[in-house]
């Protein structure tokens, strides 16, 4: 499935795979798609999530502690794809687990699992030639991030190389919920627009329906991560899918 945002703003929902357990993540993913998520980001648990704030760090720590690994996330992706052929599915990872598997075997497996694309937090465009070649060969979309600190020449390169959508980071900082959206956010999206017509999804700190509405005024989609992971943290595994679905439905109301 190509990544699409038919309704504005689109919704990209992040889940740390395997938190609280893989079966529950699958149920949450399906519930989120049914509630209106256009794209799911399946986060691969990693021991050293240096771009993440406390909420996602804790989720990763729990999942790593349970032994959840990249191959498990690929299996999960395949299971979700089997149930929901039309949902957008992105694998979200730090680079090292992917390197450990090998770039080429990873891309083969990601394609076979029905993933549409991949987002690597610590992969910048300059270092990405091997990665992009492997992704292209297997028809996968490499999603790149742009930051408020990125100068125009970098934004141009990022816009050129990203596929599926461009992930705009709303503020300098790590992932995590916040009460207000940074002023940096709309300025960044405007700057990116000079270089591309590809969809732009804004994330980091997007936490509620009001934020989503604001994001919809200038971007194509909103990425909601820590707010979802925090709901999962507070719910029992039985409650989590319905709790996430209700939250997702409320985001675009």
């Amino acid at each position: 499935m190509p990544i699409q945002f038919p309704k504005k703003p689109g919704l990209v929902i992040y889940l740390t795979a395997g938190d609280p357990d893989l079966e529950t993540t699958k149920q949450i993913a399906i519930a989120a798609i049914d509630a209106g998520a256009d794209v799911l980001e399946l986060g691969v648990p990693f021991s050293d999530p240096l771009a993440d704030g406390p909420v996602i760090q804790r989720a990763m720590e729990r999942a790593v502690g349970r032994g959840v690994r990249l191959t498990d996330v690929l299996t999960l992706c395949k299971a979700i794809r089997a149930e929901r052929p039309k949902g957008g599915l992105i694998l979200f990872s730090y680079l090292n687990p992917v390197l450990r598997m090998g770039m080429e075997p990873f891309c083969v497996a990601a394609k076979a699992a029905g993933a549409d694309g991949v987002l690597l937090t610590d992969m910048i465009v300059e270092e990405a030639s091997e990665y992009m070649a492997a992704m292209k060969k297997h028809g996968l979309a490499p999603v790149f991030l742009a930051a408020p600190t990125s100068p125009d020449d970098r934004l141009k390169a990022i816009a050129e190389h990203t596929e599926g959508f461009l992930y705009a980071i709303s503020r300098t900082g790590i992932t995590g919920v916040s009460s207000t959206l940074s002023d940096d956010a709309s300025k960044l999206v405007q700057r990116i627009r000079q270089f591309t017509d590809k969809p732009i999804a804004l994330g980091f700190g997007v936490s509620n329906a009001e934020h989503v509405r604001t994001v919809g005024e200038y971007a194509d989609a909103a990425v909601i991560g820590s707010a979802i992971v925090a709901i999962i943290e507070k719910s029992t595994p039985q409650e989590a899918p319905a709790a996430v679905a209700e939250f997702v439905r409320g985001l675009r109301r």
């Binding site: 021991s47 704030g53 990249l70 687990p97 390197l99 610590d122 910048i124 990125s150």
Partner: protein, 406 residues
Amino acid sequence: MEHSIIDPVRTLGNGRFGAYGGRYVPETLMAALQELERAYAAVREDQAFQGELAALLKDYVGRPTPLYFAKRLSESLGGAKIYLKREDLLHTGAHKINNALGQALLARRMGKQRIIAETGAGQHGVATATVCALFGMECVIYMGEEDMRRQELNVYRMRLLGAEVRGVGAGSATLKDAINEAMRDWVTNVRTTFYILGSALGAHPYPTMVRDFHRVISREAKQQILEHEGKLPNAVIACVGGGSNAIGAFYEFIPEPNVRLIGVEAGGRGTALGEHAARFSGGLPGVLQGTYSYVLQNDAGQVATTHSVSAGLDYASVGPEHAMLHDQGRATYTSATDTEALDAVKVLSRTEGILPALESAHAVAEAIKQAPKLAKTDVILVNVSGRGDKDMGILAREMELKGAGA
């Protein structure tokens, strides 16, 4: 910079050491890394900057450090002559200040008033807190809670110097976790903050810049050994945590094919993953904290926990230039166990009256193994990267110094 024929950024290299190094960071940091790269490239050739650094290294830090012939140690081992490069005599007690001072001068040039750093053994934290006091800068140090416990004296020193020490409880609460937290701070405050990274690690330009600031160790040592012995040493030995003292001690000897370069990693208390920090025997190439190098990890690519009696060597990856030297066979990497390091502390203390840091003791332990195998005319140069005052708590416990014996 536009007026220069040679682009200083290009002369700095691309941050690759063979296949290793590079830049694997969140995009938010890229502009800062590029700004740092340009600023560093400019001062690298700048007479005024280098002159100011040299003057402070001499008058404030105490360079040059002596190269001392350890006669009693050498005689007791009955082999090669052992020379000690005395980085332990530097202000603040370890080589770390060479780099902290260089980076702080650069931060001042760049107009950054807020400094952050990570620390393992606390020596880099103390060095950074010291130069921040010297220049009147704000200073925040990230340190694993386990390291705060075992290097408690350095925590007090940092606070006394006016730094804020922030404990990190994640993971095994050691150096790797402190670096994660420092990087999170940097991503958040990147516009105002300079990150003084403490070893030859991380994304470009750090491994090159940190190496350059420690290169003075081998520059002095090469000249000094020629004065003492009229020849180059057979081997240079240094301990390897992130690899900063080792790359500094090796660098000027790399073009000398007859000088063996030996890096000593932490063998800890066993060979199982999690029990040591011997990256070259137990690790595989991977990316951790911005750079591609050898990383201790499991088969899923999760970074392993590590163990060493010395906080400064207790880290899952290693500087990328060492990874290259390893693969080229130009340097060899061995390890010393906790016990061997503790024994080496005692041996050096009692033969020479020199109390080495537990990190440096790993290098001394290797010299103790090598010297008897060599001829009396052979020469070994050991970099004593720091002094052991900070380790007295650990030494008291481990060696049962509290009683009459030991």
